[in-house]
């Protein structure tokens, strides 16, 4: 259930390069959420529950693809990620301080 039913949008994309949006409330699987990116608001159907402040995909990301937030790399997809899916430590892996 959205805690932001009276708001104009439920989540924000911070930069046009980003594949993820940040939830501005606790959002539910199946919910059509309004995602703001700059001046544009698009509707995305969530595949999973997204807690406040967590991220979900607004674009498909293939395994190994670099994921961006703030227009900068925040890691890579460890599995294929579909639109509306939760993006977190289970499918997003840091590219730093790795032992090779």
């Amino acid at each position: 259930m959205s805690t932001r039913d009276n708001r104009k949008w439920d989540a924000v994309v911070l930069n046009p390069l980003d594949q993820v949006a940040t939830a501005l409330g606790n959002l539910s699987a199946g919910q059509s959420v309004r995602v703001r990116s700059g001046e544009v608001v698009e509707v995305i159907v969530l595949a999973e529950d997204i807690p406040l402040c967590h991220k979900f995909a607004v674009r498909v990301v293939a395994q190994g693809g670099v994921i961006h937030k703030y227009g900068e790399a925040i890691g890579e997809a460890s599995i294929d990620i579909a639109i509306g899916c939760h993006v977190h430590v289970h499918n997003l892996k840091s590219l730093r301080a790795q032992r090779n």
């Binding site: 708001r7 939830a23 501005l24 937030k69 925040i74 977190h88 430590v89 840091s94 590219l95």
Partner: protein
């Protein structure tokens, strides 16, 4: 809004935002006595440095730098120095006296190594110092006298979206007024170091930023730890942060947009005005002591899911934007702006409001952390003792 606050102008010309009687124990041997004396002198601030004998090399230099910095922080109106031997304590007495700070030193050597005698003499000497500094008054001074330390702890994505960019606007304002601002937590530059390096005032500073990050990254790899689960830690991950890169990109928003003048070591004072980086650990208690030891009189500390810790020497203004945290932590957050997070308030307007809070606190209004006594000092160790 005027760029002035009301502070205590010290004989050195530096300005305190507080007028502490500082009880500074420079060896772990006298920590209990220092705390006993402080308990008898309400309002005094005690710093009980837990080490001394066997400190070596860089570690010894860092600890002495931190103690010297804390004792000469202009928030200390007077210093009661407590220690074991007259030679070591005498070095600090001379340092603080040169700066014009009223200082009285008492050692176990002079008390026949009787802690009860040291306690009694300490209470009497501290009471006298307290009387002397109670006669000092605040006066209007420019913001250029301010050294600001910027911290984040138990962050979540609301920190990177709102609270940290808000601190960035405050940092820019202090820097533009001729003051000093700095961030530390160098592991949390990782993934964003190219953005910091692009703001370096000189190629040498850019190189030092990269070297600081390489050093922290090397420590993580050599330590065999996966940063995910460590930094970001469990509370960051529960809050929605997934990787060190994501956390860093949010963290560096605290640094604002002005040129980066230097990279200093833990508890090392920047040599001039402007914005600086401190290459130091990200654990908040040690990081905050790095700032107050470097001369910061005032700290701004953002949190996502809540973090009660503050610094003992420098008032620490807690800032949050997470709507759930803002509602829950009334006696922790000195400034909350969930309306910015929800898109109902401009960041610039929040910066104006936070700036008013900053001037108020710099002029004497107490923070929640001060009222509740959450302050401490914590010393980063750089190596083993013999």
């Amino acid at each position: 809004m005027s760029n002035e606050f009301r502070g205590y102008v010290r004989p050195s010309g530096r300005v305190g935002v507080r007028n502490h009687l500082l009880i500074l124990s420079v060896t772990g041997l006298t920590g209990p006595t220092a705390r006993r004396i402080s308990a008898c002198l309400p309002g005094s601030v005690v710093i009980d440095f837990p080490y001394d004998g066997g400190l070596l090399g860089e570690d010894r230099a860092a600890q002495d730098r931190a103690l010297a910095g804390l004792g000469s922080n202009p928030n200390a109106g007077a210093v009661l120095l407590i220690g074991a031997n007259t030679v070591r304590v005498g070095k600090f007495t001379e340092l603080f006296s040169v700066a014009g700070t009223p200082v009285t030193a008492i050692t176990l050597d002079e008390c026949g190594h009787d802690a009860v005698t040291l306690t009694e003499r300490g209470i009497r000497a501290g009471a006298l110092l307290s009387k002397v500094i109670s006669g000092l008054r605040r006066e209007p001074v420019s913001l250029l006298n301010l050294t600001l330390g910027l911290e984040c702890g138990r962050s979540d994505p609301s920190s990177g979206l709102v609270s940290n960019p808000l601190l960035g606007l405050i940092a820019d304002r202090v820097v533009d007024s001729g003051g000093v601002a700095m961030i530390g937590e160098s592991v949390e530059w990782m993934g964003a170091e190219h953005l910091l390096a692009a703001r370096a005032a000189t190629p040498d500073v850019a190189q030092k930023i990269q070297a600081a990050v390489d050093g922290r990254e090397g420590l993580a790899v050599a330590g065999g730890i996966d940063l995910t689960g460590n930094n970001p830690g469990p509370s960051n991950i529960a809050g929605g942060l997934s990787t060190i890169e994501e956390k860093s990109l949010g963290n560096i928003a605290k640094s604002g947009s002005r040129p980066i003048q230097s990279v200093v070591a833990w508890a090392e004072a920047p040599a001039g005005p402007g914005f600086h980086l401190m290459d130091a650990c990200s654990y908040a208690p040690e990081s905050l002591t790095g700032f107050s030891g470097a001369g910061a009189q005032l700290l701004l500390f953002t949190t996502g899911v809540g973090n009660s810790y503050v610094n003992a020497s420098a008032p620490t203004i807690k800032v949050g934007a997470n709507p759930e945290t803002s509602e829950r932590l009334n006696e922790q957050l000195d400034y909350a702006c969930p309306a910015v997070f929800s898109g109902d308030m401009a960041l610039e307007q929040a910066a104006e409001e936070l700036f008013v809070v900053l001037v108020d606190v710099a002029s004497g209004t107490r923070t929640w952390g001060e009222i509740l006594g959450e302050g401490g000092e914590s010393f980063s160790r750089m190596g083993a003792s013999i």
